[in-house]
Symmetry: C3
């Protein structure tokens, strides 16, 4: 994919099309992350803690993991962004998530919520609703089924007569994607958050705009925690970009480009996983400006 | 190692020898895992959660990690197999293991138990006995000392006069292996489970049959969690093979072959660990049929 | 860096200079770790458990992770060294750290303490002080800010009139390093421990001696858990070397050399992390004797 930014050089008042705007913004955000090294506080799951921390370090941010109720408010008070991820949740951790989220929100920092497995068990769905309602969430990132489950549960909580109406059971993949985009837009508008639905193509919405992000590599689905890593990278980008939808879309675009780079010559999911960290570290703002595939907004 | 399956082509009624039967079954099980993508629920230790999830994804299965008492029964109710691993156990997790195990057992799904460190501390040994007695375990996988400790403790619980009689202290390695096979056969017969003792050569028994599996690579002992990964892969194979001993033996055989492939050209335990994920992803049923080293049954 | 050991060959009574003594000791300690395979008990954080275990296996030691209060004393009773790391602390784990530390101390085994994030939150600083006071710690390893925070908190606890006096806020890097060395020497003398401050150059002190260790690679700062890994390796070396400062310095020197080897040709932090495990496994005592950069003592 080629962009032709040259035509804007001589006329800075000419508004570039949205795709180029977001590609440029992705490049600027990446540069800003590396310049400012934002501290990203993660209350996340045991499976991905290591790879998430490494991805944040690789891209240029600074990770911290802390979950004890005695310290999460203080830690959130130091951080530039917060990630809440319920992948291996337990009751005490959820309380810490609420405490940390409220602190971040009060300080004007962005809270990224990853509702891992929402819809799979009642405990996860209810916890996801509670975090969404009480933890100052600014951005939600999930896959299609998680976003549909969260939308349905949120609407069901608001109006007990509606549950199950739009549940995408047994539908084909295209329908599922469409359903997820509709769910994301409802969820975004209802909760006042940006929502990112990730999959073969990612969709980001804040209820008004719809941004599509392509990229990545099929091996991403064969490595655990790539979704969780996406959420963490979004938090790093949100630390330098006050627009939640733009932060989410540009973070996903850079991650997708890194995935494409990592996939070149990878022998399998093991080497891909390692090359992905290398690519997050090596990718330059210029490569991002020229190479990300992002449109809309 | 070469197999000559050609001689069975013209006479499907001729019973192939057991080794070839199991090699073919390993190939079929691998293909079935990739075709059906079984969901494997893991309640496992913090050290290996990431690598275990990645190994399951690499081989073609779908992992989920969840331990909260509020959701383990529901999650086990969705899964095609369950892994219980006490590597970093604590009291609350053991309760969740029992709940999840009983659910799986009631649904006819196989529970694989990895008694990490049984024999090292009283708490581990007692916990291992409790999980074995109460969690619907169908397959136990451990190293020689874990299996000996579990056998001894199980017999001691049944007859308090017998403890310590067969404890393999200070014996040489060959004696230890023989002792472990005897312990595995007693444990299998007594508890009505299949038992896999892994080591330089693996032995699987259900109390009636004895299957030996060779393969692997010396660097496996220099990477943490290879035993735990073996247990997780056995669970994936048990999701597609109703015979616990055959599931264990074929899962170990595929893992051993992947280890052999990964070891070719590995520079050390780091690259070996990564290449092992690549090999689990790349190995084909045809390679398995021709290359696994499995006999008995 | 070249050493010229030849000149000592003909006169074993001639005392080699301190640098060469420690290089030789590093080589001997590495050989002793591989020969005796010390069991290192880790009560550590979720982020680094896997990489720490792999680093210990790679260098030739045997790791065990266990944190349950029901078993930590028994496990510490089996181990040759203990690591306490508060990276993702919670109240119950701290109790287990105290229990395990006291057991190790009573058995004459070395307890290595990694006060991750001391100074960042009140809970961490207080916990770090409590572990230092109550858990039989023999060696503390931290970065400059952690060591300064721990020194300040320890002095503040001893004399409430002194807090804040020497806090290195807003000082330049050289000043910070100097302040950290001074803090390390006070902490070592006051608590009767060896203290290792790691950074671009590491400094180890037991309050009397000051040893400097160079080595490593800039990519170490882009991989999570390298500090925690250093602490774990120090514990392995302390299992074979009764002098805490020498154990810390030689462990850090071997780790630094492995980092240099790993950095040669690494494409980024992902491949570096993997090559570091390979290098810990491959590095020989002869390479250590010739290549470590360690002086003082």
């Amino acid at each position: 994919m080629m962009h032709h930014f040259g035509r804007y050089v001589n006329n800075s008042l000419e508004r570039p099309d949205a795709m180029n705007t977001l590609a440029g913004r992705a490049a600027e955000n990446l540069a800003a992350v590396r310049r400012t090294v934002p501290l990203v506080h993660n209350i996340t799951n045991f499976v991905v803690m290591n790879v998430t921390a490494n991805a944040l370090l690789a891209v240029g941010a600074s990770p911290v993991m802390a979950h004890a109720s005695e310290e999460v408010e203080e830690m959130a008070g130091l951080a530039d962004a917060l990630v809440l991820n319920i992948g291996t949740l337990s009751r005490e951790w959820v309380s810490s998530m609420i405490l940390a989220g409220r602190t971040s929100k009060a300080r004007g920092k962005t809270v990224v919520f990853d509702p891992v497995g929402a819809g799979a068990t009642r405990f996860r769905t209810e916890t996801a609703c509670r975090v969404l309602a009480d933890a100052g969430v600014g951005i939600v990132r999930g896959n299609a089924s998680e976003i549909c489950a969260l939308d349905e549960a949120a609407r069901s909580a608001a109006d007990p007569a509606t549950p199950g109406a739009a549940r995408p059971r047994g539908v084909d993949a295209i329908h599922a994607t469409d359903a997820a985009v509709a769910a994301a837009e409802r969820l975004a508008a209802g909760a006042g958050v940006a929502v990112a639905v990730t999959g073969p193509t990612d969709v980001v919405t804040d209820g008004r705009r719809r941004i599509r992000v392509a990229g990545g590599h099929p091996l991403m689905r064969r490595v655990t925690g790539t979704g969780c890593t996406a959420s963490a990278l979004i938090a790093a980008f949100a630390a330098v970009d006050p627009d939640p939808a733009a932060a989410a879309a540009t973070g996903l675009a850079v991650f997708g480009l890194a995935g494409e780079i990592a996939g070149q010559g990878a022998d399998g999911p093991g080497t891909f996983m390692i090359r992905l960290l290398d690519a997050l570290h090596a990718v330059t703002p210029a490569q991002v400006r020229a190479g990300v595939r992002i449109e809309g907004g």
